[in-house]
Symmetry: C2
Subunit: 326 residues, 2 copies
Amino acid sequence: MATLKDVANKVGVSITTVSRVLNNRGAISQKTKNKVFKAMKELNYFPNEMARSLSNKNSHLIGLIVPYIGHPFFGMLTDAIEEACYLQEYKLLLCTSNGHPGREKELFYMLRANNVAGVLVCSRIEDAEEYFDTDFPIVSIERTIENVPSVSCDNYKGGVFAARELMDSGCKHPLLFGNRTREHLPAYLRYKGFCEECEKAGVDYKKYYIEPEDLFGKVLPQNIESLFRDYPNTDGIFATSDVLAARVINILGENSAYPQNMKVVGFDGIDISEYCNISTVKQPIREMGDLATHVLTKRINGVLVPERSILPVTFVRRKSSGPKKD
Amino acid sequence: MATLKDVANKVGVSITTVSRVLNNRGAISQKTKNKVFKAMKELNYFPNEMARSLSNKNSHLIGLIVPYIGHPFFGMLTDAIEEACYLQEYKLLLCTSNGHPGREKELFYMLRANNVAGVLVCSRIEDAEEYFDTDFPIVSIERTIENVPSVSCDNYKGGVFAARELMDSGCKHPLLFGNRTREHLPAYLRYKGFCEECEKAGVDYKKYYIEPEDLFGKVLPQNIESLFRDYPNTDGIFATSDVLAARVINILGENSAYPQNMKVVGFDGIDISEYCNISTVKQPIREMGDLATHVLTKRINGVLVPERSILPVTFVRRKSSGPKKD
């Protein structure tokens, strides 16, 4: 059986160089890497990284649990996390919980049993007690969990921005349209910021909640119908995600019985907001993923990290909330 | 140090049950699982799955290499693959190559060194020789690679559908607008189907290529400008992805100097096509991910699998190609 030394001899480099290529550490030219890979293939040498990681405290594996990877927010977030892992020589083990707390718990234990060095989680477990009081490195993205460092955006400010935009556009009866949320979910502060800003301005606002599963389902047109039956004066909608905003605009456009100049503001700042010309509160998604990865790797290496990191949001004005009324 | 037996005793179940929970095999109720997890936590028992997998031929790890996870096509595909892995008791190690052949090669060797049982790849390596003639289980998604089983959709038929739709909508000067492609990339057959269908009908069609990086960049408005300078008669555009179609429609809508009734057909059938009302050729993305995972796990288990699996595409007519002209 071929050894590391055989590969090094074949290429004409040192064992250290081959080892660095294998572990993706140190600056090695692509040319040398290709030579090493070629020699490995020819000698059929595929060292078992796992065997090695057993004698190594840090497995250089990071687990990531997200509810859905098909949602553009989580896609972009995962992309940024994967990139940050790659640059720091970690590998990513991706799991999706489909939003089920039970499945999320299972995945967390599976990841630990697979010797990951740490876990990044967008948790949907209400009490999140799985993650409490543990010396194991965890970073929570988007929500706070007791004793766990978290990275999120300024959701409260985002809600304030949405309320201001609708009021500045002349809306007298703005409405918050979003998933039913609870205090532990990221949307909670978003809603709070919106409501408190409307209250501060003395504006009569309403709230209409849908169930999380309605977003992807066929129920949304019925929700919109009942929304306008209950609140016929509605003249502006804060849809609490861009995907929801895009669907609302699409449904309103298909039925001329609905008001055709509805002001709509979304949340997230994903590509779809640009393509569908939606005014939105932009989260720094890539920066959140990058920062969360860095906080985690610091924790893995025993460095003290912030308990909470809150990144700023920005407002992007587009066609859906129309020109600003002065 | 706690053992498997301690956990079993604490919960009052057999060692086999605890082992099944750990390995996510067999039908165990969520209630029992939670009890086992709780006991593990209390006893601080986290068995090293890696140590076990060394004595096990099948690591139950699958590697996935995609060019970009932030693109909705790959997001949806990855989502389906992760789900299929979960249901078959495999775990997924996700890597993105950012479209760089050199990085893709590195990732492939890293995955092998990490003892994955098999690899799913959406390759961007032109010759793809890394994957030739190997006994190691690989499944290629979207493109064919010599001696490697592949799963794709009927790209040629998709191109035919797009050409027919534009011609049926009355276009006399349809134009193919997409990334410069080569024979080894999935778009190649898409283009071929479009061109040959136009030729068959004797219609004067044009092609306008952009560089892959233009799609996400700021260059696209300039591309569109030069497109209409070169081919002012253009009355229908086949944008070879939905994301590209959405961007084209957005750019045309923002400048009244451009024709405002341009027929546009996209490709992929991702959510954005629905929200932006884009007629499109729909790929069965989830089914492709699911099938690819099953082909790979069959190969891992030594079952003979099809060399090529081609899933059908469908055409979805929406506003962007307007009502059909009879």
